[in-house]
């Protein structure tokens, strides 16, 4: 494994840590006061800092360090995580993410922004310190006017730490048997600890059983250390980093010392439940044995113990491994083969005349069940929660809210809903755009909201859930809703509809999905980037999804997306065209109907229209478009599939017969051949034959030459 690979892993982990960080901060923002949440946030920043240090990513380390310091104040209870504080921290998390990505991909970050945040963070860390907490009082800021020079050791001078004054820490270290079993040596750890400063180490033998009861491989000794050091608590923890899972380990900062108090002055304290016992110190050559510690027993830092336990719980709950995506895909392909093979086997058994078919059939049924289970489990490997995408959205909301000076609260629901990774990857873009739109156009300004009797803060709800084998994502805002009058006017101005067209509310709402439609009076910096809702709709349709809108004036709009759980399979309608079997994606089909001869109208040369509820819809003979046959089929003897097209219009595709609906595995045609116009991909049916999957948009576009005119009429309304 070379350095780049290690770096790659570091950045992967960074992404996880950043997600963790944001989750934690958002939870705190929502009033979560669990110390574990604060710890998780702190840990995330700390890990990033640690890793970045190893790769000499100085900018990242510098920022993470200041961030960490401020977070530590929250962790130790010196800084109340109020809304303002969390806001600064969320922004800092954004900058930290930017810095991480800049370090990974090159490029630069907004230096002004990060510097401003650094100042804020430092102010937060300082501002709250003088109050209450004992640690702060004795730790004057470097530029405090009443700073008095203090004597301190210059030995470690090149290792500049923010804390200038020596501080007293009480460390309790109680190894468990596992520590020794893993080849760690308590003496070495204690020796390292002693190197940090002036240490007083006492061995606590209270737990030591009688010799008869002694397990030679057990761990009975504990140590209480009082350490006078200029290093921070983190440095102390760093020593025990690799041992912390296998010991009980507590660090408490005692009263800090502005001057090196002669240790002898400390009175021998009540030793609490422990009895200090002299210990053979020869092993600890660097340790200065002096007076007993001021406080031998310090109450455990609850949060820290909890953190340990939570970590252990998490580790037990879901051990994970990283797997190359290619391997998973290969497995998925193979399982796809298995499914086809099993279907073929079943078919040939059914066609055979063997006498003991029932026994074979029984076995086949079991095989079928197993295959289906394997397929589901394999698909589940690729399935991931939508959480990371949703988290990215919270950042986008923050940024746009800032830009538009609106106050927005993002509520997410069902972020653990799982969907295939490819779907997740392609979801981010349309979702980003819709969120931008919702904040920019959907929500009103605070003044307007107050005037309308709504809370000043707008709410954006982002929800995901599973519904009948698909994932449904809703984006709801509590804004003004769609201004239908304006949408209508705009559509008339743009020549999309005629001025006297009578449209239902729903039809008007759907106009915003029409290509080249933008309701904002001025093209704003935020959503007017040349892409409209039509692009969103297209990208969702490409994923095999649909999008709908429902809007209530004054109460807001809800965009609902429905997407397949995976892109490896597709729900299709299996049809026959000129003796060939074709698959039509079910998402494209609005309805199927049996055309009556009376409803078919000739239109010009060769073109035929079908009237559906008084709307005229061009008929497309799929067999002819794909040049499977020369002559037009008799519409009355065919089945019409009403499909929705790119432009939002509808077309009726004529096929000979419908065989049924089924889920098919998508196979590339381009892998060994070329792109075929009108064909999206191929699949393999139960009989082992290849069937082609129709590209509905391309088929429609192929006929557009002679059917362009009706498209611009009313039929354009989706």
């Amino acid at each position: 494994m070379d350095m780049n690979e290690i770096k790659e892993i570091f950045f992967q982990e960074c992404e996880e840590q950043l997600a963790e960080l944001e989750t934690g901060l958002l939870a705190i923002n929502d009033g979560d006061s669990d110390p574990e949440t604060v710890n998780a946030v702190f840990r995330a920043v700390h890990s990033i800092k640690g890793g970045a240090g190893a790769f000499a990513l100085d900018d990242l380390v510098a920022f993470a360090h200041v961030f960490e310091t401020t977070l530590d104040c929250v962790r130790s209870g010196q800084l109340e995580p109020s809304a303002d504080v969390v806001k600064v921290m969320l922004k800092s998390a954004d900058v930290l993410a930017d810095l991480t990505y800049a370090a990974r991909d090159g490029g630069s970050v907004d230096k002004e922004r990060s510097d401003a945040l650094l100042v804020d963070l430092e102010a937060l860390a300082r501002g709250e310190k003088p109050g209450g907490a004992p640690i702060a009082a004795a730790q004057p800021a470097p530029d405090a006017p009443d700073f008095e020079p203090v004597p301190f050791s210059f030995d470690d001078f090149d290792d500049v730490e923010p804390a200038l004054a020596a501080e007293r820490f009480t460390v309790t270290f109680r190894p468990r048997a596992e520590l020794y079993a893993k080849g760690n040596e308590a003496a070495l750890l204690l020796r390292d600890l002693a190197k940090l400063g002036e240490a007083t180490i006492r061995c606590n033998t209270q737990e030591l059983p009688d010799f008869d009861a002694l397990d030679p491989e057990g761990a009975y000794l504990a140590w209480d250390i009082v350490l006078l050091t200029e290093k921070s608590e983190d440095d102390i923890r760093a020593i025990f980093e690799f041992a912390e899972w296998d010991c009980t380990f507590e660090v408490t900062s005692g009263a800090a010392e502005t001057e090196a108090v002669p240790v002898a002055e400390c009175e021998p304290a009540e030793a609490g439940p422990m009895t200090p016992v002299p210990f053979d110190m020869t092993a600890f050559d660097a340790i200065i044995e002096s007076a007993p510690p001021a406080e031998a027993a310090v109450p455990a830092q609850d949060a820290f113990v909890e953190r340990r336990q939570a970590d252990r719980r998490a580790a037990d709950a879901s051990p994970t491994i990283r797997v190359d995506l290619d391997r998973v895909d290969r497995l998925i392909n193979l399982v796809g083969e298995l499914v086809i093979n099993q279907a073929m086997l079943a078919q040939s058994v059914n066609e055979s005349t063997s006498s003991d078919r029932s026994a074979i059939n029984l076995g086949l049924e079991e095989l079928q069940q197993l295959t289906r289970e394997i397929q589901d489990s394999v698909m589940a490997i690729r399935a991931q929660p939508v959480k990371p995408v949703f988290q990215r959205m919270s950042r986008i909301v923050r940024e746009i809210a800032d830009m538009t000076s609106k106050s927005v609260r993002l509520v997410t629901e069902g972020e653990n809903t799982e969907v295939d990774k490819t779907v997740i990857d392609k979801l981010a873009e349309p979702l980003t755009h819709m969120i931008r739109n919702a904040v920019d156009h959907g929500l009103e300004t605070p003044e307007k909201r107050l005037a309308a009797g709504k809370p000043e803060e707008g709410t954006l709800r982002l929800a995901a859930k599973h519904r009948s084998g698909r994932i449904v994502i809703e984006i709801a805002d509590d804004g003004a809703g769609i201004n239908r009058q304006r949408v209508r006017q705009k559509a008339i101005d743009n020549g999309l509809i005629s001025p006297d067209a009578s449209l239902s509310d729903e039809e008007v709402d759907n106009l915003i999905f029409h290509p080249g439609f933008s309701t904002a009076d001025k093209i704003s910096d935020i959503s007017g980037r040349g892409v409209g809702m039509d692009v969103v709709k297209r990208s969702i349709q490409q994923l095999g999804g649909r999008i709908t809108i429902s809007s209530t004036p004054g109460q807001g709009s809800i965009f609902t997306m429905s997407l397949p759980l995976t892109l490896a399979v597709l729900d299709g309608m299996v049809v026959t065209v000129a003796g060939q079997t074709l698959v039509v994606p079910l998402t494209a089909i609005v309805e199927t109907l049996q055309p009556e001869a009376s409803r078919i109208h000739r239109f010009g040369a060769g073109q035929r229209l079908i009237s559906i509820r008084d709307m005229f819809c061009p008929l497309i003979d799929v067999g002819r478009v794909l040049s499977f046959r020369r002559d037009q089929a008799d519409p009355a003897a065919s089945v019409a599939l009403l499909v929705e097209t790119e432009g939002g219009g509808q077309r009726a595709l004529m096929v000979d017969a419908i065989q049924g609906q089924r889920q098919v595995v998508i196979k590339s045609l381009e892998a060994n051949y070329d792109h075929v116009p009108g064909i999206a991909a191929a699949t393999i049916l139960g009989d082992g034959r290849v069937a082609l999957i129709l590209d509905v948009d391309a088929v429609v576009a192929g006929t557009r030459g002679d059917a362009a005119k009706p498209e611009l009429s009313l039929a354009a309304v989706g």
Binding site: L626, A671, N672, Y673, D674, A682, I684, V690, L692
Partner: protein, 155 residues
Amino acid sequence: MNQLAKNQADGIRELIAFRIGDQEFCVDIMSVREIRGWTPATALPHSPGFVLGVINLRGAVLPIIDLSSRLGMKAADPTARHVIIVAQVHQKVVGLLVDAVSDILSVTSENIQPTPEVSSELDKSFARGVLAIEGRMICLIELEALFRASESEAA
């Protein structure tokens, strides 16, 4: 030293010979993946006449090319006795429909005579020489040239 390396060292090429109508052709064995029987293919719309369609080769979609038609001879009428040579050309895998596989030949470059001067399309585009084996004439075809040509025509 294995057979392949030995052959290469000796300058020996192995060729698969097959029959189309009453003519014999051969291709380099290194590009042949497998040989299998004919199964009905699914027709592809808008494809040139020599593309018979696609079949399922253990889950991959394999285009089938009527080599007879591709070489400018009369189009084949595939039956169960026809054979598909599955060959890798560039990065793609294609199936070539031929009447039958007849032989595996080990030849050196001295055995391959330059293509005689005839003014047919076949000569110019695909033939890379002829071999005289036991009184038969076998024409060596270069699949790369064949596929490039078919690709541009299909497009």
